[in-house]
Symmetry: C2
């Protein structure tokens, strides 16, 4: 009873089942031949002993890795401080837990897409989940990683995509503004290099064009500070604007802050919408009208695809759903 409780090894299981380690391994890994009888005995023994394979040993022999790396593309390492990234990391961690794997966080500089090769060369890396990735990064991914990479955002022939229907979401938001009487709708865009942001801009342009509304675009970068600056720019260039579409909730909050500071009523004078539905979008005053995205679900799906190594469709789209609150 006082003996140190060494976790059961494959050897223990094999011994208890009366077979060789090799047979036990084949049964548990589900690969190779094994008689039904042996199969049964091994499974029972493993269950009884509470056997769990040692990921370190497995990683060592297979060179398969024991870490799932969440790799974030961005211009600076500060992208790793983003709450959204942390949320994805958390979801991945929960998927990894039952496999005995850990997760890691890695910055992929926008300017040197080849950096991803270093990840691929690291034998301790079991898989990679890409965030905010670019085509440059996707192109640099070596074939060796095939089946062990997934992207939250755009994908490629090698990399399955798990993405939000940004275009659809933006469309829903803009249509909603139109439906509630707004006719001079401006948009604060996301960073130019991010293609998912491009889809939002595309949707916006399409709708205003079809409805013969003026196109009013101001560059942004998802930050609240830039939102403030953008709002000022909008006010100066087009004083009659009656709605501003933010490309992120932080952007929208920055916009609202500046507007109210200038005595502009929200949503009375100008409606403002966000994008993403961060936890506090519901708590602000006025509560933010925005589009909500199943971030945890998406991250879970991406991580699962990487860990299961089963064939997945090249692109899985997740809905972006309008959340009507007060601001717009």
């Amino acid at each position: 009873m006082a003996t140190t409780h060494r976790p059961p090894t494959l050897e223990d299981v094999a011994l208890a089942a009366g077979v060789s380690r090799a047979t036990a391994s084949r049964v548990l890994a589900g690969t190779g031949y094994a008689s039904p009888a042996a199969r049964e005995r091994v499974n029972v023994a493993a269950d009884r002993l509470g056997y769990a394979p040692n990921p370190a040993a497995r990683a060592l022999v297979q060179g398969t890795g024991f870490r799932l790396v969440v790799a974030v593309t961005g211009t600076a390492a500060t992208v790793l401080d983003d709450p959204y990234v942390h949320r994805v990391l958390g979801a991945c961690a929960r998927v990894c837990a039952p496999h005995g794997l850990g997760v890691a966080l890695h910055w992929l500089p926008t300017r040197s897409p080849g950096e991803v090769r270093r990840l691929a060369a690291d034998r301790s890396v079991g898989g990679v989940v890409l965030i905010n990735t670019t085509e440059g990064v996707l192109d640099a991914i070596p074939a060796r990683l095939r089946g062990r990479v997934a992207s939250i955002g755009i994908g490629s022939a090698l990399v399955p995509a798990f993405d939000v229907d940004n275009g659809g979401g933006t469309e829903a938001v803009v249509r909603h503004l139109y439906a509630t009487g707004r006719r001079r709708i401006a948009m604060v865009t996301g960073p130019r290099w991010l293609s998912c942001a491009g889809r939002s801009v595309g949707a916006y342009r399409r709708i205003v064009r079809d409805a013969a509304l003026p196109e009013r675009l101001v560059p942004g970068d998802f930050s609240a500070d830039r939102g403030r600056a953008a709002a000022r720019e909008v006010l100066e260039r087009w004083p009659d604007t009656d709605a501003i579409v933010g490309s992120s909730d932080a952007t929208a909050l920055g916009v609202i802050d500046l507007l109210r500071g200038d005595g502009v009523q929200v949503p009375g004078d100008v409606a403002v919408t966000g994008f993403d539905d961060i936890p506090l979008a519901a708590m602000t005053t006025p509560a933010l009208t925005t589009a909500t995205h199943p971030v945890t679900q998406i991250a879970t799906a991406a991580a699962t695809a990487v860990l299961d190594r089963r064939p997945v469709p090249p692109a899985t789209m997740f809905p972006s759903r309008l959340v009507r609150r007060v601001s717009g």
Copy 2:
């Protein structure tokens, strides 16, 4: 050039340095004897080859683990969805990265403190960072984990604590309210089982007693919903209250929401303060007066203590600093 780029192993380094694997290991691990000459040659070779030890192999032979587990105590697994937890996870991940380790997320049920033993038994666990831990959990930690556990919150003889000076922070907040003329100050507490919340309550009681103010305590649980309910309770029991101290920012936002819904001016009629300074506390209207905490720094310190295995003081306190904004 087309050869697959196998990462350098210890063997490669030893070969390049003209010594045996054993010597190279001793030099690189910093343990055991080695002549200055050999030391030099090995280090140079390792640098040139860009050698990094394979954590899987190391974990296998030492049984030391390749994952840092962030273990969160709470009544339900949903505590793992908390943005604060994710932030700690992110900080730990950044500390782990250079060591080639991954991080994992684990729920420790409040009701069964012994659960932590399962973590200790898992050989793949290199270390544990505790969040919101209880004395029950601390007591259940086996000695085997000594030096590989750190706690963000309370500690024990075995477990060094990395904590925010909650008492000091709450004191600063309440004193600030007093200094700005508030005399009937209520407090919405945190969950009872969390001892760090207890320190805040203690600080509050001490101050109101010393200043001969009425003590007005309402139980909370850090959530915005509970904040709303608590605010209603305060309004009913003590209608002349002129300040409400929230034990978290979410609580404060819930309080503000209900107050404004009832036509109570914030901070005109009632001042409201939060605690933690979450990213959006600065963006709400009115912007939240709160206490800010270096969460990332704290998590980094805790993770570093676990990974470095160097002796650390039993308790390291981090300051809680008042942030004066608009709400109080």
